[in-house]
């Protein structure tokens, strides 16, 4: 198989993930988009590994690490989303705005 095919698929997956992160507001969907991006990375790594054949299987090793890392990130992410749901009653990343800067305070100060 030519190297270009898996690389193209990886770019497609990555762009899909970026779109999901930027356009979606539901925190769970954003987490799923991260998974897409990380899997694009895995595909790249494994494809380059098969192309390079450097005898160390560096790409495959890093891919295993990335899978573990993704699991850890999603575990923590779901815990934080759950906490957000308990406090706010929704999992919408854009409408959680308790912390935004309050301009009226700044005008009094100046």
């Amino acid at each position: 198989m030519p190297l270009i095919l898996p690389l193209l698929l990886a770019v497609l997956l990555f762009c899909l993930g970026v779109y999901g992160v930027l356009a979606r507001r539901n925190a769970i969907t954003i987490l799923m988009s991260f998974e897409l991006m990380l899997n694009a990375v895995n595909l790249n790594l494994v494809a380059f590994d098969a192309w390079r054949l450097d005898g160390l299987a560096t790409g495959q090793t890093l891919a295993v690490f990335v899978i573990t890392l993704a699991a850890a990130e999603i575990g923590l992410g779901l815990a934080i989303v759950l906490l957000l749901f308990r406090g706010h009653g929704h999992v919408d990343a854009d409408t959680a705005r308790d912390l935004r800067e309050q301009p009226e305070l700044q005008e009094n100060e100046l």
Partner: protein
């Protein structure tokens, strides 16, 4: 592969920190008898002992070079994953001192009552483990894993109070950080593709010799890696999460983020820029210069408008990172580590003072500090000194000399426009900190701030103040960290 004695020595400090983390967690889970005060003190002591071991180790071994986890290369010197050398010593000293200060600020009665003690110290030590590994890492896989080991516990710490503000702050930081990790890994996968290795040392030798068609891919890959780090250290334009996260986190955790997480990110970027991804003369260094100029300008300008103490410190830390990126972009490790050390000491002190005031006046406005030099002279004068060092004014000579060294590094590299931006930003920075200092001296409208300050807070703040005074008298110690 068998581990040699050198390997064990090089990972001794991260290993002891990790073992300390597990000990703390187990001690808190299994030992349920005894008063809260005793349990908290014991956990603080275990955490402190693990960090002190690290400081003692680097004090003894500061002149040695220990390449660890090496494999012989086909051509050239052996490829190593973790190296203990003078740069590592300097970064570890900064990170461990910062960690120790945060442990002091989280002593009994200082730590927010809603925060579970064992978990907090466990997460703190885990993040420190990752930070120390990151400072010594010399291959990209180790860099990524270590960076995640720093980041993930930090977000858990932000949300550890389990309230609305904490969860929102943690979510913002988490989403940005995971995005940056994915972007960075994508860049790393292409770097691996074009160079065929993850060892920084091999990448730096192979990058100039690659196929000209692949040169643009290599540049984009390096850019992705630097952008990923830009998110982590909150360089403008990737800084949006930082002020909200600092404001949502408990003050001790905000101090941890400002001191340990930030130093770890800067240390990792320093390792990457000087050893691998952006060799001298690479156009990626120009990208870091532009990031530095943007970061210090936006950070300082936004800090001018803040009315809350923590938010002002958050924006000012963005501005300070801009100054840090300037010597980093020209590859001057000595100036960067010296700046980082001075920043860590005074930021710890400033956050300590803010924590004391915020415990009694939760609004955390700058007006709460009005008249503090008169009503609470010790704390007030110490805070004024920290702010003076951050601004780089005399008598805060530590700040002045480190800013000067950063200037010198940029001028030596003949980047005149960046030096000009830095000069303008020193002026804006003065205005930022002088506003707060003026509040401290102003006559109070109603009853001024006056409390009994807890002993551990007094100890940490006066140690920071003492260290800042010593560093102002002997600024050469800052630059001796990296020889």
């Amino acid at each position: 592969m068998t581990m040699t004695w050198t390997d064990w020595q090089a990972i001794a400090v991260p290993l002891v920190l990790a073992l300390g983390a597990i000990t703390v967690l187990l001690a808190d889970a299994l030992w349920r008898t005894g008063s809260k005060q005793v349990r908290h003190t014991v956990i603080t002591l275990i955490t402190g002992a693990a960090i002190l071991f690290g400081l003692a180790f680097i004090a003894v071994q500061r002149n040695s070079v220990k390449p660890a986890f090496c494999r012989p290369a086909v051509e050239g010197p052996a490829q190593c994953s973790l190296v203990f050398e003078p740069l590592t010593v300097g970064l570890w000293a900064v990170l461990l001192i910062g960690g120790l200060g945060v442990v002091g600020l989280s002593a009994y009665r200082l730590l927010d009552v809603d925060i579970p003690v064992g978990e907090y110290h466990f997460l703190l030590l885990s993040a420190l483990t990752g930070a120390t590994v990151l400072a010594g890492a010399r291959d990209l896989a180790t860099v990524v894993i270590a960076l995640e080991v720093v980041s993930l516990p930090s977000f858990a710490m932000v949300a550890l109070r389990r309230d609305r503000r904490g969860s929102e702050g943690a979510l913002k930081a988490f989403l940005v950080s995971v995005l940056s990790t994915a972007v960075m890994l994508f860049g790393i996968s292409y770097l691996y593709g074009v160079t065929g290795s993850l060892y920084l040392q091999t990448i730096v030798t192979r990058l100039p010799a690659i196929d000209p068609d692949l040169r643009r891919v290599a540049f984009a890959a390096g850019l992705f890696v630097i952008v990923g780090f830009g998110f982590k250290i909150a360089a403008v334009p990737f800084h949006g999460w930082l002020p909200d996260t600092y404001a949502g986190a408990p003050v001790e955790v905000a101090a941890f983020l400002a001191v340990v997480s930030k130093s770890a990110g800067v240390g990792g970027l320093l390792v990457l820029v000087t050893f691998g991804v952006a060799p001298s003369g690479s156009s990626l260094r120009t990208v870091v210069c532009i990031l530095a100029a943007l970061t210090m300008t936006v950070g300082n300008l936004a800090a001018l408008r803040q009315a809350e103490a923590v938010r002002l410190l958050a924006w000012s830390s963005i501005g300070q990172v801009g100054f840090l990126l300037a010597p980093l972009a020209v590859g001057d490790a000595q100036a960067a580590v010296g700046y980082l050390a001075a920043y860590v000491v005074v930021t710890l002190g400033a956050f300590g003072a803010v924590a004391v005031v915020q415990r009694h006046r939760p609004a955390g406005l700058l007006t709460d500090y009005r008249g503090m030099v008169r009503s609470e002279p010790g704390l007030g004068v110490a805070l004024v000194f920290f702010l003076v060092v951050l601004a780089g004014l005399p008598p805060g000579l530590a700040g002045l000399f480190t800013k000067f060294a950063a200037f010198q590094a940029v001028l030596d590299a003949h980047i005149g426009w960046l030096a000009a931006v830095m000069a303008v930003n020193v002026m804006i920075g003065l205005a930022v900190y002088l506003r707060w200092i003026a509040e401290l001296f102003r006559l109070p409208a109603d009853d001024p701030f006056s409390v009994d300050i807890e002993n551990p807070a007094v100890a940490v703040i006066s140690t920071c103040a003492g260290a800042a005074v010593v560093l102002s008298i002997l600024p050469s110690t800052l630059f001796a960290l990296v020889t």
